[in-house]
Symmetry: C2
Subunit: 481 residues, 2 copies
């Protein structure tokens, strides 16, 4: 086998050389493979394979019946032409094509704040992955891999992901008062993918979407790159506000974070939830409920989700394991109205394909066996303590006024207010140079506002290691104010 390949390669090389240096001039008719094989004492297949290769690469042309000929224009000649007069020049002298990004591409690259370190204090929006029960998870994964059937290696849509949908539905019904059956759930690789799927299936280019202002810029970028007009709705202590006057353009979709408004932390009041549902039902539009951080509420009992407030609500519910387990897991889920399930899961399969069945099966077992709820209960206590500690540090250093009034004792970050007009971006940049990552509040505002502040994540900072970086941050802030 190998020997045949070598013979064929050397025949290919010598023929190609002969063609290039004119030993076999253009239009020359080559001997039939049979004769050449005999002459060279090679197998006919070896000769045919070498011919095929040279035909495929454009050195020879085979005309059925009448034999094989040397081409008139050789690939090399074409290539030198394509090289734009720089043929023969050393590699570094070849023209480097210029990259001109599209308008939407440039938009995506504006304000890329999360890029870079995930490991400094006070990175916000990340859980303490050190606390994740990796060994337990790995044991389950090994177990499931053992039982794995080859089918699981193909694209998704089989019993492994079904087991996960069942486990997620059970969890959401109990813990979040979501009204759902397993077949209403679509599993995605993250919240972004879920939001994007929803946007594309429900809205066309030029349609508009309401988002909270301030709000998560990541979602705004997704909406914009999908051609939607992004309209910011101001947030008050009860959550996203609705327009007072009837004279406004009705959007196609409304995206909200009712359980814990991001980033300010307000809980959407039941009254506002009612008004929002009412608005969506009357106008026949859809609400996308991002229930992020809902598991981490440290006083009172968790607020029931918007989706389950009334039957058949016009709500698409989205949740993720990125904050409850770990971000790198890349598993999120959406709960769809029955009427939309088929369209969404088919489109998901068409656009994103699926797979990762071993991960889905492991996660299903992790939920079904209660490890997930146990982990959340454990982390809720840990985060409550860290939140308390950070809050104390802020109060001691800057006083009550520094705490944002909408704060609702939940989540993985705190919003610290700065005097209006203070340049929070400059402070964040300065802090970064000191090895501290804080997010400037002004960056979350769609409408330029002089509201100034900082997001401080406490999820991944051990209480004993919180004070020193906070003192450093305080110095940076005082230097700027």
């Amino acid at each position: 086998m190998r020997q045949a390949a070598t013979l064929q390669r050397s025949l290919y090389d010598s023929l190609r050389k002969a063609v290039l240096d004119g030993g076999l001039p253009p239009s020359t008719r080559l001997p039939a493979s049979r004769d050449l094989a005999q002459a060279l004492n090679l197998s006919r297949n070896t000769v045919k394979a070498a011919f095929e290769q040279l035909v495929a690469e454009g050195y020879l042309r085979a005309t059925t019946g009448s034999g094989t000929y040397v081409c008139d224009v050789l690939p090399e000649e074409v290539l030198w032409a394509s090289a734009d007069k720089s043929a023969g020049r050393p590699e570094q002298d070849w023209p480097t094509p210029e990259i001109k990004l599209s308008k939407r591409g440039s938009q995506v690259l504006e304000r890329t704040w999360t890029l870079g370190s995930q490991w400094a204090p006070f990175v916000s929006g990340v859980p303490d992955v050190e606390e994740f029960p990796q060994k337990k998870f790995d044991r389950l994964e090994a177990l499931w891999r053992g039982r794995q059937r080859a089918q699981w290696l193909t694209y998704g849509g089989n019993e492994a992901s079904r087991a996960l949908r069942i486990a997620i539905a059970d969890y959401l019904r109990q813990a979040r008062s979501v009204r759902c059956e397993p077949d209403q759930i679509v599993i995605t690789d993250g919240v972004h993918q879920a939001v994007e799927l929803t946007t594309r299936l429900l809205a066309d280019v030029g349609d508009s979407a309401w988002v909270e202002d301030p709000g998560y810029w990541g979602i705004r970028k997704l909406l914009a790159i999908n051609g939607l007009r992004v309209i910011g709705r101001p947030v008050d202590a009860e959550g996203m506000t609705l327009p007072a006057s009837k004279r406004h353009a009705v959007p196609k979709i409304i995206l909200v974070t009712p359980s814990h408004q991001y980033p300010l932390g307000a809980v959407m009041s039941l009254r506002r939830r009612g008004e929002l549902l009412d608005y969506a039902i009357r106008n026949k539009i859809w609400i996308v409920e991002d229930d992020y951080d809902s598991e981490f509420r440290f006083s009172g009992h968790p607020i029931p989700c918007l989706q389950g407030l009334v039957p058949n609500s016009p709500v698409i519910y989205i949740g993720t394991f990125s904050k409850t387990l770990y971000p790198g897991l890349r598993v999120a889920y959406m709960v769809l109205p029955r009427a939309a399930c088929r369209a969404f899961s088919n489109a998901h399969s068409e656009l994103h394909r699926m797979g990762r069945q071993a991960t889905h099966a492991t996660l299903a077992a992790f939920l079904a066996e209660g490890h997930f709820s146990a982990h959340i209960r454990k982390m809720r206590l840990i985060y409550a303590q860290r939140r308390h500690k950070l809050r104390q540090l802020i109060l001691d250093e800057f006083g009550e006024h520094a705490m944002h009034p909408f704060d609702s004792n939940a989540g993985l970050h705190l919003v610290m207010r700065l005097p209006d007009g203070v340049d929070d971006v400059a402070i964040a940049d300065h802090a970064k140079r000191e090895g501290i990552v804080v997010q400037p509040l002004s960056r979350y505002h769609l409408q330029p506002k002089n509201a100034s502040g900082l997001l401080l994540g406490f999820g991944a900072v051990h209480p004993d290691r919180m004070e020193a970086p906070f003192k450093t941050l305080a110095k940076v802030i005082r230097a700027a104010s």
Copy 2:
């Protein structure tokens, strides 16, 4: 802790009830939490938590200083309003919101051919996952999980994915003649994600893209949903053709499968490659090279890729492990020109986030330790045998004419020609009812054509189990012709 929660819950319930049944009429001022705590012999925190909850849900309002009051409009009233006069009705009577899909959403759902079984003969484009060395892969994964550091659980961009980029770069340089360094590689969750990232960063809504006609409809859907005008370029025996006249609109991007044109199987001649590069360089546009199936060439040596043909080529190279390992792995890669690396990897992180580090580390080891190349060598022999067997079945049953002339002895499927005008969709539907999955060639054509044929995948069909289903398919075909 738990007891406090119970007390708080019961206080919450009784207060809420009192508010709802008028025991506490609107605007009533509640006693201060301290006094109420004393009166009920509860801790003040318990009372405060219950108050907080009721405020959050809109039953009470707290006005700093002057105390806590019962709200004038209660959440329930708002909710009943929102329920659109159907309050009190049984659940099934609640209005079900109607789903109106967007135009682009409906496009995505047209011609959803791959949906459904991945396990019948002759599903095309899937490898034989039964042959995947699962145990070897799992051992490596266990090994790496053992060494895993918590950092790997966060979003990507660390040493695990770096190891994979290094391994992929080594492989591509050796096996595919790609010109690249590890930092030119971006790892994606699949080819679709890579194509979509490219489309969005290089083209805006309304820009046009050239695709091969016939070609892969999946890519056409991605381009369309991103607002591009999809222009089909006819394919001949040398691959995608270029327009003869100068009078045509120059596209923003050109998507091609030079190694093995999908679905017809032509290898793009070196001459055509030169012309294509020349066209792209002169017009300052980009070529997206989908190098799918390039590993499975059964005669001659693999054709070098387009990207590496000349230095600094205007080519974005895309490959995947879906066919060489297994589809459910969901790992693909793109090779970018140096000038574009930073923009693409930042945008990738902004839009898709990353993670799955354990998978990346395992895959890196699988490549670096030579298991990947070994698996490809093994599968190349297996597939060659299966291809030969299927080809023989077709020849014996329908003769030489049934084989597509562009066929180039590579890949995981064969294209069988049917007499012009024969309804290949009807045949595919009929075959599906017989438990046989074949793709109708006409579906791959952008311009309606009467070219008729079937794609038969042989990758996942054992030679000994090939004849029976083929005979059944032959009957179905004869019945239709």
